[in-house]
């Protein structure tokens, strides 16, 4: 029983951490631009194909991983420059539709240039192994996901708290117009937000593909849906909310998988997205209420 619980905890914390990173990547852009980036999942895809192509080189895997994350960051920056900057001042609905088009574009480019079939990138052999602590068996993939996600969250927190760009980002998320009036360059802040978004997607991609073990053109769909749920439930307007939402969803997913009967589990997506609609209706600001919205009331 205790061993079950320990395994449950590690899996849930690992999954929750990755979900939190995904949601953060979505929310950091939303906070500033009010853009819900549908094409966010395609950054995971870009990193996945990066792993596939760079992985053919003889370099050690860690370099492959870093370069793949870099691919996602570059893709995010290009996306911002080419597609989103020109529609920046349009309504949130227009931006959302633009990101839908970007997502379709990238998916079909992958379909055309690479292949519709799943491709298997090189992954470190240690990902399939597991460790034993007494009677507790823990997958290396879970454990490394847990560690990396916590390190990434701490690093991001430090970055946002201690650097000038971090301060500008937080200020812009609160009140973009005011931040610009204070002399912060809009393009710089937005590019930084997209870079972080790409970074998160890239990190997540390593573990996501470590789990699915192959890359397809549509691999980005599930991560982006998860990021949607986590950020809506946690609160679209706060970074803390994204993290909370990610962990809640991680625990919920593993919990449902472990304890719910199979035929009920088939309706899991329906239940999760039903919850999303409910949260939007009843508590649109999510679990974590942003500071400024209290004042706006």
């Amino acid at each position: 029983m205790i061993t079950d619980l320990a395994q449950y905890l590690v899996s849930a914390l690992s999954l929750g951490g990755l979900y939190a990173l995904m949601a953060l990547g979505l929310v950091i852009v939303y906070g500033i631009l009010r853009l819900i980036n549908f094409a966010y999942g395609e950054l995971v895809m870009v990193a996945g194909y990066g792993m596939l192509i760079i992985g053919r080189s003889p370099w050690p895997w860690i370099f492959v991983a870093i370069l793949s994350i870099l691919c996602a960051v570059i893709a995010a920056l290009v996306m911002e420059r080419v597609a989103f900057r020109p529609v920046r001042n349009s309504s949130p609905t227009t931006m959302l539709i633009t990101s839908f088009a970007v997502s379709t574009l990238l998916q079909n480019l992958a379909l055309l240039i690479i292949s519709p079939r799943p491709k298997v990138p090189r992954l470190p052999a240690v990902f399939t192994k597991n460790l034993r602590f007494g009677g507790v068996r823990i997958d290396v993939l879970d454990l490394s996901g847990l560690i990396v996600s916590i390190v990434a969250l701490l690093a991001l927190t430090l970055f946002l708290r201690k650097t000038v760009i971090g301060l500008a980002l937080r200020a812009a998320a609160d009140d973009f117009t005011m931040t610009r009036l204070m002399g912060v360059r809009a393009n710089m802040v937005i590019a930084a937000a997209f870079a972080i978004s790409g970074l998160m997607a890239g990190i997540v991609a390593l573990f996501w593909i470590g789990n699915t073990r192959s890359t397809t053109p549509t691999i980005g769909l599930e991560p982006v849906l998860i990021a949607f749920i986590a950020s809506v439930v946690g609160g679209m307007s706060s970074l803390k909310g994204a993290v909370v939402g990610g962990y809640v969803l991680g625990f919920l997913t593993i919990g449902l998988q472990t304890w719910l009967p199979r035929d009920v589990n088939a309706y899991r997506d329906a239940v999760l997205f039903g919850i999303v609609i409910l949260v939007l209706l009843v508590r649109p600001e999510g679990i974590v209420r942003p500071v400024w919205s209290r004042e706006a009331r």
């Binding site: 819900i36 609905t93 633009t98 839908f100 970007v102 379709t104 088939a266 309706y267 209706l281 649109p284």
Partner: protein
């Protein structure tokens, strides 16, 4: 004089648009080419769906990614009502015989309307909740609803046969029927846009707070247009089901949603003409691209020199072109090909501001209602 002129241009719009549809139908009928006829029939159903989307999105200004949920509901519910019990044994073998639905059997046209009504009932209920939302939250909620309906359809074997393909549906939707419904949709869509409700809704699109401050019940107007839109989507699904004859829930999902949103955005969401022009032009371009793709891939297989130019098969090329066109339109001409105007006769005099007029329509509407 000006009144007469505006009256003429008002009536001329639905006439021109239905004229375009009829003309295409006649050309397809005269050619007698089976493949071409299929393409045109699907295009008419897409015209219907795009106008349905326009009725809501164009007038309210809210984006919906959930319309295909209602196309799905319309498609499945129409076959519940149109198939005989014997046909249901084949198409929906998991439906229990003691169900009331099992014994229902109506003529095709009745089943189409019932498909629309089923979508309307579901949409009307969920719509009460949705109209409270604003902006991007609304779009995300409709998107979530699409996923909910999709995953329920994949699992509820009694009514949808789960993820497996429903087969053996008789082909009832002809070129003529599709054309008639497309024209009906254009008339309804245009009449709605020009009605008082449409006017109030367009006013709320321009400025929600200003519209409600002068007594427009924004939520109610949105709800009415939402209901009309989902009914039309349900009808479209029913027509499609009886045309394609076999389908599964996978055929009512993201790429289909993308297609009708692209059609509307490219054409211009603020006018019915935009919806029609967008649907027709995107359908034509994508059909042309598809033929190009096929002949290219065929040439590659034969090993001619074309194969050396590109090392891969052409898949997804059509979608790339549509997505690129959509991004270009959103960046360069956000109001679409039609720029919010309707096709009308006599044409607007030269020198009148083109795109701005669409913006001002809503605003003048708001002041009119107030006075």
């Amino acid at each position: 004089m000006t009144d007469l002129r505006s009256l003429a241009s008002r009536i001329s719009t639905p006439l021109i648009l239905s004229g375009i549809v009829s003309l295409i139908a006649i050309i397809a009928w005269l050619r007698g080419d089976v493949v071409f006829e299929r393409v045109v029939t699907v295009m008419f159903i897409n015209v219907l769906l795009t106008v349905a989307l326009q009725v809501f999105m164009g007038n309210s200004g809210l984006g919906s990614f959930g319309q295909y949920a209602f196309v799905l509901i319309g498609a499945y519910s129409s076959i519940w009502f149109s198939l005989t019990p014997e046909q249901k044994n084949l198409a929906l073998p998991d439906m229990p015989e003691e169900w009331w639905l099992y014994s229902q059997h109506y003529p095709f046209q009745v089943a189409v309307v019932l498909g629309g009504v089923t979508a309307l009932i579901v949409g009307a209920v969920i719509g009460i909740a949705f109209v409270r939302l604003r902006g991007a939250s609304f779009t995300i909620a409709t998107f979530a609803f699409l996923i909910v309906v999709h995953s329920i359809a994949l699992q509820w074997r009694e009514v949808t046969r789960g993820s497996r393909t429903v087969i053996g549906i008789p082909k009832e939707t002809s070129l003529l029927i599709a054309a008639v419904w497309a024209i009906l949709a254009i008339l309804i869509g245009y009449a709605f846009k020009e009605s008082t409700i449409g006017l109030k809704l367009r006013a709320s699109r321009e400025d929600e707070d200003a519209a409600s401050s002068i007594g427009v019940n924004v939520r109610l107007m949105r709800w009415i247009s939402w209901c009309l839109s989902v009914f039309m989507c349900g009808v479209g699904g029913a027509l499609w089901a009886h045309f394609i004859q076999q389908f599964s829930p996978q055929q009512f999902y993201l790429s289909e949603t993308f297609l009708i949103v692209a059609m509307l955005v490219i054409g211009g969401s603020a006018s019915v003409s935009g919806a029609v022009v967008g649907a027709v032009s995107v359908a034509m371009v994508s059909e042309g691209m598809r033929q190009f793709e096929n002949s290219w891939n065929l040439a590659r297989q034969k090993g001619t020199s074309i194969g050396d130019i590109l090392p891969f098969q052409l898949v997804g090329f059509t979608e790339i072109v549509i997505a690129l066109a959509m991004i270009l339109v959103l960046v360069l001409r956000p109001s679409g090909i039609m720029g919010g105007r309707e096709l009308a006769w006599p044409l607007r005099r030269r020198g009148s501001p083109p795109a701005a007029s669409s913006e001002s329509v809503g605003m003048t509407g708001a002041t009119d209602t107030a006075s």
